[in-house]
């Protein structure tokens, strides 16, 4: 079943076109990779899906509702490129705040907060102010916040930037297991070995989708030996 889609989405900031008629679909149970060079519109696409950016024209839909819809948002977990954490609060207080914005309360909230801390291996540091966290820890906490209300659609904007290879591998295992459990996961990246781990890829350039399909299909179609080569060839 379709979790979310963009259809003919256009958005310009002054003379720059961030989205230029972008089409995108995400199905439940898959990891969709959004790849493209810096400034190609990946972040704008992610923001349009979570209702933080309203397209000038075209459609942004999540679970059949036009975004921004507060009802749909309670099923969406979003992680921006910036960590967006309160430095003066500890990890648990950060989680508690965002959980309460999602309407979680009482024992149910506590249970989810502890589960997410554990999932991101932050239990031991949960009482420390975030100010002292390393880049990797901040990313993990940010991801824990995106997961705290058990969303069925995850929109993750460059979630693994700044992570060491081991941590990055573990994160991808998490994304895969979330998809296996039926969630839809959208990940933007420009790391090609991460693209290989996606079920499907959408290659975007200048706010338009220029290719899409599974990593194998994309390679076969283009005759490129690797996604890297395809990426370099497709982006003029």
């Amino acid at each position: 079943m379709r979790a979310a889609c963009l259809a003919e989405a256009r958005k310009s900031f002054g003379t720059t076109k961030a989205l230029d008629g972008l089409d995108l679909e995400i199905e439940e149970g898959e990891v969709l990779g959004l790849i493209g060079p810096s400034g190609s519109g990946k972040t704008s696409a992610a923001k349009a899906l979570v209702g933080l950016l309203k397209p000038d024209s075209g459609l942004a839909e999540v679970y059949g509702r036009t975004m921004p819809s507060r009802e749909a948002l309670s099923r969406v977990g979003y992680m921006a490129q910036s960590d967006a954490l309160f430095d003066d609060l500890d990890a648990r207080a950060n989680l508690r705040y965002f959980a309460s914005l999602q309407g979680l309360r009482g024992p149910a909230a506590r249970e989810r907060i502890e589960a997410c801390l554990e999932l991101m291996e932050l239990e031991g540091d949960s009482g420390r102010p975030v100010r002292g966290f390393s880049g990797g820890m901040r990313k993990r906490l940010s991801l824990a916040i995106a997961l705290v209300h058990s969303p069925s659609l995850l929109v993750l904007d460059e979630p693994t930037v700044g992570m060491d290879p081991r941590l990055r591998m573990r994160m991808w295992e998490r994304f895969r297991s979330l998809a296996a459990a039926g969630s839809a996961v959208l990940v933007t990246t420009h790391v090609m070995d991460e693209a290989e781990r996606c079920d499907r890829l959408a290659l975007i350039f200048d706010g338009r989708r220029i290719a899409s399909g599974s990593p194998c299909e994309l390679r076969a179609e283009s005759g490129a030996a690797s996604l890297e080569e395809l990426f370099l060839r497709e982006s003029p």
Partner: protein, 357 residues
Amino acid sequence: MRRALAIAARVLDQLRRDPRTIVLVLGAPLLVVFLLHEVVESGSPEPRIAVVGSDRLAEAIRGEAEVLRPESAQAAAAMLERGEADATVELDEAAGLLDSSPAVSVDAADPSASAAALKALRDGLSDYARASLPAFAKAAAKAATPRISYVNGSPDETAFDYLAPVVLCFLVFFFTFILAGIAFLRERSTGTLERAFAAPLRRRELVGGYMLGFGLVAAVQTAVIQLFVVLVYRAPNAAGFLPALAIDLSVAFAALAMGLFLSAFASSEFQMLQFIPLVIVPQVLFAGLFDLRSGPSWMRVAADFFPLTYAGNALRDLMIRGRSLASVLPDAAALLAFGAAFLALAVRGLARYRRDE
């Protein structure tokens, strides 16, 4: 509503973990009030007056000022020149007031010192006149002495008492504006604001949460300052504690709304501080520290657009003149209207994050 409470709780949680800011919010106003009290109440030094000629005039002035007795008019002029005296007066004892008039010179460099010297001179001269004039003139002088009664306070009221209400509302305004503005700005720049809008949060819930959290801070702060001013410095508080608190909370409301709205136009903490000379200093100048009645008319019109004008009026009416809260309702309404207008603008300004309402 629950989400607004969550935001208020988080704002307070952040403050709780920042003891330095708590000390600043509660301690700095007390320090300012203390310094103001010391400066305003320290009084001015006794004027020094050089009297040439009449001994009886010198005696009469001695009660009002420090009297110097130079040998000659030239010596007196030299003292004035060197700054050893604030004024000189020359009167021929033998001729008296009926046949000659006193010649007075005043050092004009410091207006407050020369005003004090002139007042002392006038008082001394009138004492001297009363003592030396014939009986019919004494009767005339007595007839001209008015009987004075006081309304709206007592003659014991000091300059500090008069300034205290204005300073009180200024401090509440200043701290609330800066604290809320910077906190909101930080949320914008770190992305936590955007992240909050990735949750099903309404714009008015966010703004409401901020109002609640910082409103509570302002309530504690204004209570502390008010108690300090009234209990320690015995400033008049004729209408009682709660009406003044209500006005100060309206001030905090207006300051909060202005801070939230204006923080959208600042991209760094430094730019937020740049609003101080634009938004805060003019308000202080126009809010009742100085009497604007004789100023140009644009000044009085401008004062009408500053929330602190209404706050200062209302607090003086309550604390000094002892009027009831009902009688200052128009001022309170103006404050709340300012707050509501800026609040609406602040909510509108958040439309770039969320447009579904």
